[in-house]
């Protein structure tokens, strides 16, 4: 399919505003200008050209609206449509973010400030944290913010800390965030799929600022030794960080604040049903325990006694600005509406059913795929195609064959600690019929992996393209239509 630039035809009219009375050179020194027609390199298309182009592109994509998408660690649940309407309401979408900074102009955005205040309050209640900031614009951004908070805490206390510990099952963002904030990263090995207190203790010393954990972890296993871990960290005044990627498993069953975590980031686009958008935008609010409250980014939204809201910038210990304004407010809006819609019972049921579905799939597949840690899992589980790989059909091949069935592949080759890893997260929004069809499809593929491995290795064959050459892409480095 041609690129949109190849469809361009100079002079074709798009959505043009009215013609200015004078050429721009009447107002701006021509030496500062780039020149006339065609100099931007943007395509000239009719509106119909554009509509057809992107309609066609959309039809080359899998999405939750069109396909089961059991991508482990990503929580690809249904995204309620009404929240799109909510985020597009003119009082929200049309609101300039500096309005509350004008004198007395908090009064111009009381509705928006209430959304922020109430969202923070709900997230505090869900997680048991003392305070939240909505500013981080994605999960990894939340992690960075969280690590900055940890650094501020230690700096303020005069602690000399240089290291952050991450288990080997951690998301790649954890060590990357720690490094970006200036820390040395120490990786510890999991034992029986989870963090072992003894291994942790061996890595702990006074220079450790924090341990970053995901719970349940990326194997879908609950971190059973949490109380001992919390105790061990306390001894060296190290903080405990919670990667909220897997919050979908535990709502109402555990509150990370109550369990002893000091800093938490959530992925609103995972647990709270906002769309992933093909890679974003997300939203990564960060919650903290009481002792870290003072370090939260500014601004913070405050409710006055008269019920009015205002933005407070007066926190001298704050780490400062992590976002230009208040984070991805439009995403927060959707998550807020989602929380109001589901309520207490609904959120508990979310986690219960996410875990139920994952265990159901795990049990139904255990005779066909190796399950390295085959015990009760949380909202996802990890299988392994080592047996199939031994005969030449790798996890990658199985993933591609699933695409031909109209199902997006599970996450593969992550976490790194399981060979030929296939990480399945069904979420609570998929019906038993969909789960059963997935099992049937997978069994058919695994059977074919024995009888006709070449057919699996040749997948996909029903999509707009067959397998793509990633090496060629990296070597050729054609990154724009001009290369």
């Amino acid at each position: 399919m041609k690129t949109v630039f190849a469809k361009s035809r100079p002079g074709r009219e798009g959505v043009w505003p009215e013609q200015p009375a004078q050429d721009v050179s009447a107002y701006i020194d021509p030496a500062l200008l780039r020149g006339g027609a065609g100099t931007t390199g943007l395509p000239d298309l009719s509106e119909l050209d554009t509509v057809r182009h992107f309609t066609e592109l959309s039809r080359k994509n899998f999405g939750v609206d069109s396909n089961f998408y059991p991508l482990g660690s990503c929580t690809m649940k249904y995204n309620p449509k009404f929240t799109e309407y909510v985020a597009a309401l003119p009082g929200f979408a049309g609101l300039h973010p500096v309005l509350p900074q004008l004198k007395g102009a908090g009064r111009f955005c009381q509705g928006a400030l209430e959304v922020m205040h109430e969202s923070e309050r709900l997230l505090c209640e869900i997680t048991g944290m003392a305070g939240f900031t909505l500013h981080p614009m994605a999960g990894a951004h939340g992690e960075l913010t969280g690590v900055m908070l940890i650094a501020a805490y230690h700096r303020d206390k005069g602690n000399k800390k240089t290291k952050i510990i991450c288990p080997d099952s951690a998301h790649g963002t954890n060590p990357a965030s720690a490094a970006l904030a200036g820390y040395e990263v120490v990786t510890i090995e999991s034992k029986d799929g989870i963090v072992d207190p003894a291994v942790l203790r061996a890595a702990l010393d006074d220079e450790v600022a924090a341990l970053m954990m995901t719970c349940p972890n990326t194997l879908g296993l609950f971190e059973r030794h949490l109380p001992e871990i919390v105790a061990a960290l306390k001894e060296v005044d190290a903080l405990l960080y919670y990667d909220g990627a897997n919050l979908n498993a535990i709502m109402g069953k555990m509150r990370v604040g109550d369990a002893g975590f000091d800093v938490v980031h959530l992925n609103l686009h995972k647990t709270f049903g906002t769309p992933h958008g093909g890679g974003g935008p997300g939203s990564g609010p960060v919650g903290v325990s009481q002792r870290l409250l003072d370090y939260l980014p500014i601004s913070r939204v405050v409710k006055l006694e008269d019920g009015q809201y205002f933005l407070d910038y007066d926190y001298p210990k704050s780490i400062g600005y992590v976002a230009p304004f208040y984070g991805n407010f439009g995403v927060v809006l959707k998550a807020y509406a989602y929380m109001l819609r589901l309520g207490r019972e609904g959120l508990i049921r979310v986690s219960e059913n996410a875990v139920l579905s994952a265990n159901y799939l795990r049990k139904r597949l255990e005779d066909y795929l190796e399950i390295p840690y085959n015990r009760t899992c949380m909202h996802e589980f990890v299988a392994s195609a080592v047996q199939q790989a031994a005969k030449g059909v790798r996890a990658l091949d199985i993933a591609k064959a699933l695409l031909d069935k109209g199902t997006h592949a599970p996450t593969i080759y992550f976490p790194l600690i399981v060979k030929e890893c296939i990480m399945v997260e069904p979420t609570e929004t998929e019906s038993k019929e969909t789960l059963d069809r997935f099992v049937d499809d997978l069994i058919e593929i695994l059977t074919r992996a024995e009888s006709d491995p070449a057919s699996v290795q040749a997948a996909p064959t029903t999509l707009p393209v067959t397998r793509l050459d990633e090496t060629l892409a990296a070597r050729g480095m054609v990154l724009t239509d001009d290369m």
Binding site: P10, G14, P17, P20, V24, Y27, I28, A31, R34, T40, L42, P43, V51, N61, G63, P80, V86, L95, H96, V98, F108, C109, G111, A112, I126, M137, A138, A140, H141, L144, G172, T173, A176, K253, M254, D258, H276, G277, G278, G279, P281, G320, A323, P324, G346, V355, L356, T376, K400, F414, E428, S431, P464, T466, R467, M477, L479, T480, D481, D482
Partner: protein, 443 residues
């Protein structure tokens, strides 16, 4: 429960397969001491009730004010086809395109986005986006620090002060040295910047148009930086960029921009779009996702995420950045927006904004005691000094439904009487006229 399909019968059947007596049995690993102390959330509500509540909250925001605020976020018109296309479920309910064969829509769109923004900024390569214009600037600095192995960064005081504040937050643990070079009035002090760039400098950072709206040529400055082996970084405004000499043409190594003006609603601060572009030489320093063109096994063209060895999911703590989720759908919005307007449409939009802004500047500077700060060319934003407090002027006019600009005193000492006025194509000559009259009435 809404969005949860399991019926009681499903539940029974599934538990039977699992071999568990109840759902609670699946949570036994969470010991009693780890159970929540409380979980006092409100009762769930119907979609209708939530929508009504949110409409009520929306109505409590005054998005109807006639607004001459810019300061980095601009009220441009967004063609409705942008929403219609980007809201197609296959786009917005997809994940990051890790399975390229099932994601050619997203991937080709990002490739086209990369092409569009590199052309707009006159650069070679782009990534698939970062969060916003501010974090883009931070990432640009980190690129320069890595590439030059230097830690000194020279920043013009005419760069968006919000971004400069963000840079300070992000780098406070990183042993970087920031040198702030104040502007002269509304102009960037290019000579002072030159003087500040030495052979320990990693990068020099300017914004064009600068925060005061002034348009400047940094070609000399960048040549000087090059001679010191420092990198040149520009923060740009995409709509104005349609008519302005590009960062690439000035010799920039990295050009970033807040992409909000390309089809994102103002939405009280986000989601926006961090545009990030660089020269070919710098591409391996660039953070985030990059899409490249390749072939499938039958020789057909296709697109994949490429150069992933820079990224955190491969390199972990050694990655160029920690970024994972970016603003992909915003990038797609920007692409669709640029396609709908096209070359002529975006250039004309820029020119119309400039024309209206110059009309506004004329009307306002005709008022007694009002003077223009900008000495040279400006685009669709300019700074005026009032014979009164800018905050007070805003307060009085907003009571009549107009916000005449942004009070620069918030960020610049000695500028309590300076108003930063932005004009987009959505502001009519009539509105400008009324605003000028209202302002005249309170001076």
């Amino acid at each position: 429960m809404p969005y949860i399909p399991h019926t009681p019968e499903d539940l029974r059947e599934m538990l039977a397969v699992i071999g568990a007596a109840s759902v609670e049995d699946l949570f036994t690993e969470i010991g009693p001491d780890m159970r929540p102390k409380r979980f006092d959330l409100p009762k769930g509500r119907s979609e209708m009730a939530v929508v009504k509540h949110m409409e009520h909250l929306s109505a409590r925001n005054r998005s109807d004010l006639v607004c001459f605020i810019g300061a980095g976020v601009y009220d441009h018109y967004i063609p409705h086809a942008v929403d219609a296309l980007t809201s197609r479920g296959e786009f917005y309910t997809a994940y990051t395109p890790y399975q390229p064969e099932a994601s050619q829509g997203t991937l080709q769109a990002i490739f086209e986005y990369q092409t569009a923004v590199t052309r707009l900024l006159g650069m070679d390569c782009a990534n698939a986006s970062v969060y916003d214009g501010g974090t883009a600037l931070f990432e640009a600095i980190m690129m320069a620090v890595r590439a030059t192995k230097r830690t000194r960064v020279v920043v013009s005081g005419t760069v968006n002060p919000i971004y400069r504040t963000m840079l300070a937050s992000y780098t406070c643990n990183l042993n970087l040295e920031f040198v702030n070079v104040p502007g002269r009035g509304a102009e960037t002090d290019i000579e002072a910047l030159k003087a500040a760039v030495d052979d320990k400098t990693a990068a020099v950072i300017v914004q064009n148009p600068n925060f005061f709206g002034s348009i400047e040529d940094c070609t000399d400055l960048f040549a000087h930086a090059k001679s010191k082996k420092a990198l040149s970084i520009v923060s740009a405004y995409p709509v104005m960029q349609a008519i302005l000499k590009t960062p690439g043409a000035m010799g920039a190594d990295v050009a970033v921009a807040e992409g909000q003006s390309l089809g994102m609603p103002m939405s009280f601060g986000g989601p926006y779009l961090g545009i990030m572009t660089c020269t070919k030489e710098m591409v391996r320093q660039m953070p985030g996702r990059i899409v490249g063109r390749t072939k499938d096994t039958k020789g057909r063209t296709g697109y994949v995420l490429t150069l992933q060895a820079r990224e955190q999911h491969i390199r972990r703590q050694k990655a160029t950045s920690n970024i994972c989720s970016n603003q992909a759908l915003c990038a797609m919005r920007a692409l669709v927006h640029m396609c709908l307007l096209g070359d002529e449409g975006l250039r004309r939009t820029a020119a119309l904004c400039v024309e209206r802004a110059h009309y506004a500047a004329k009307r306002l500077t005709e008022l007694p005691g009002v003077t223009l700060l900008n000495k040279g060319s400006f685009g669709n934003e300019f700074a005026i000094r009032l014979p009164m407090s800018a905050l007070e002027a805003i307060d009085k006019l907003s009571a009549k439904g107009f916000v005449p600009g942004f009070p620069l005193g918030r960020y610049y000492q000695g500028m309590d009487d300076v108003l930063l006025v932005a004009v987009t194509e959505r502001r009519t000559r009539e509105e400008i006229g009324v605003m000028a009259e209202l302002l005249g009435g309170i001076l």
